[in-house]
Symmetry: C2
Subunit: 283 residues, 2 copies
């Protein structure tokens, strides 16, 4: 069966209603397209757990700030469609921006607390845009389960909080980050890197691995020391600039001064003009 | 069949899912309890249009500001239950406050534009609380149709905007205001009035009817003139104090200076310590 392409909200809702009445379970993989093996790992997981798999492809303007890369964000619909067909996706929901945001004064969904840290500090309004579009997608696709990648760890926590607070009746799954051979986390934004930048971008993973080594092997506990070692690794690359590095509680995202038990080490780094993020949970 | 009382969110979601799988339509009447004939007119409408009727009863702390009447708001569950049984309601969903708001840093749903006018000007955060709880109720009860009264006209517009923006897959119905013989709009808060205040409270309806008379019979078009006549009627009552009187576009709620075509005349008046609202649409 070829993948069904749906661009209209009302058609999608009618279709998933009829699937639900038939007792079919629905898995949603929300994406901004330019699909890579990271997305496909989510699709495979969804395929194994649901009768119907929906991939949404929507580059959401509401989650980009002014001066961010909304226009430059990679779009690759023809390739995405082929990949979805190969993975036996049932439905690709790919609305136009005007279908999702037809007017002004948009209603917004906002999570407090978790959103003022890490990426929320650098990207004002980003998580409001994420929560708003994900709420809309949940109401449009009505999934039983939705799948997200660990690379966007904070996004997962924020969406989980939003879904619980708003009583969305669904399960959320976070799946492991998929990496290139040299450790770089897969990201659609990697397509924006020049060959030189692509080489420099290895520093994110190297910095995270050095944190792991300091914590697990060297038993270093001072977060400040670990972060300064990580910064040094990033700063060795002339094209790289740290946006943030944080060592924090993996549930509350509150910074820790001293590493005890499980921590999230998260970072954002500009490589050239491209902002990349990555993280590891160390326990 | 006695009415089914559900207090747990997860039980309600499971129950409505199974109803939906059976192809049954669900009508929701969201209330804060202390039911009166206004609510019951919504229930009757829902009863006529749906296989299953759900009445939610929840005095929502999030829509009361500091210093407002959350604690004093009338509660009358035993009577409410009897009324629901009489009207053949299938389910009363009546969660405790801790079931709806278990933690802090609540996710909030906020509508812009419509919410800074009329009641939104006097009651900061009120509509954010309304939109948040109504979103939650929509996710918990999953209605095909939800029913609201015209007395809360602005609330209906705000919820309609929220539901459209968030792509809730349901219909919304606004039903006419139900009034006492002397014109007072039914409201749970009328229970808070002393006999003397109850008499004074007639002035809301009298003021609205004077606006109608000036516009329809006397062909007065100046909003300022009409409002000052209405104010005079309210101010004749020693216990009454105008909170706001607005003449505005019934879709955008923008004030009009000159009455042309359809307008909403809305007002809020304190009678003693009780704040009452009412409105008419004049075309």
């Amino acid at each position: 069966m070829p993948v069904k392409i749906i661009t209209k909200i009302s058609l999608c809702q009618k279709h998933v209603d009829s699937l639900r009445k038939q007792g079919r379970t629905i898995g949603l993989v929300p994406t901004m397209g330019a699909l890579h093996e990271g997305h496909l790992s989510l699709v495979k997981k969804a395929r194994g757990e649901n009768d119907t798999v929906v991939v949404s492809i929507f580059v959401n303007p509401a989650q980009f700030g002014p001066g961010e890369d909304y226009k430059k964000y990679p779009r690759a619909f023809a390739g995405d469609k082929k990949l979805c067909e190969k993975e036996k996706v049932d439905i690709v929901f790919c609305p136009a921006a005007g279908e999702m945001y037809p007017g002004k004064d948009l209603t917004a969904v906002n999570v407090e607390g978790l959103t003022d840290k890490l990426c929320g500090r650098s990207r004002t309004g980003h998580f409001k845009g994420v929560c708003t579009v994900v709420s809309k997608l949940f109401n449009i696709v009505k999934p039983h389960t939705a799948y997200f990648g660990q690379k966007d760890y904070q996004q997962f926590l924020v969406i989980r909080k939003m879904a619980r607070d708003m009583n969305f009746h669904l399960k959320l799954r976070m799946c492991p980050t998929v990496r290139e051979g040299d450790g770089l986390a897969l990201s659609s934004r990697n397509r924006c890197l020049s060959p030189k930048e692509r080489t420099e971008a290895r520093c994110l993973h190297r910095a995270l691995e050095s944190a792991r080594y300091l914590i697990k092997t060297k038993r270093v506990s001072g977060a400040g020391l670990i972060i300064s070692r990580m910064k040094a690794i990033i700063n060795e690359q002339p094209g790289a600039r740290v946006d943030y590095i944080n060592i924090c509680d993996p549930e509350t995202l509150e910074d820790v001064k001293s590493v005890k038990g499980k921590v999230l080490v998260g970072l954002a780094v500009f490589v050239g003009k491209t902002r990349l993020i990555d993280n590891v949970v160390i326990s």
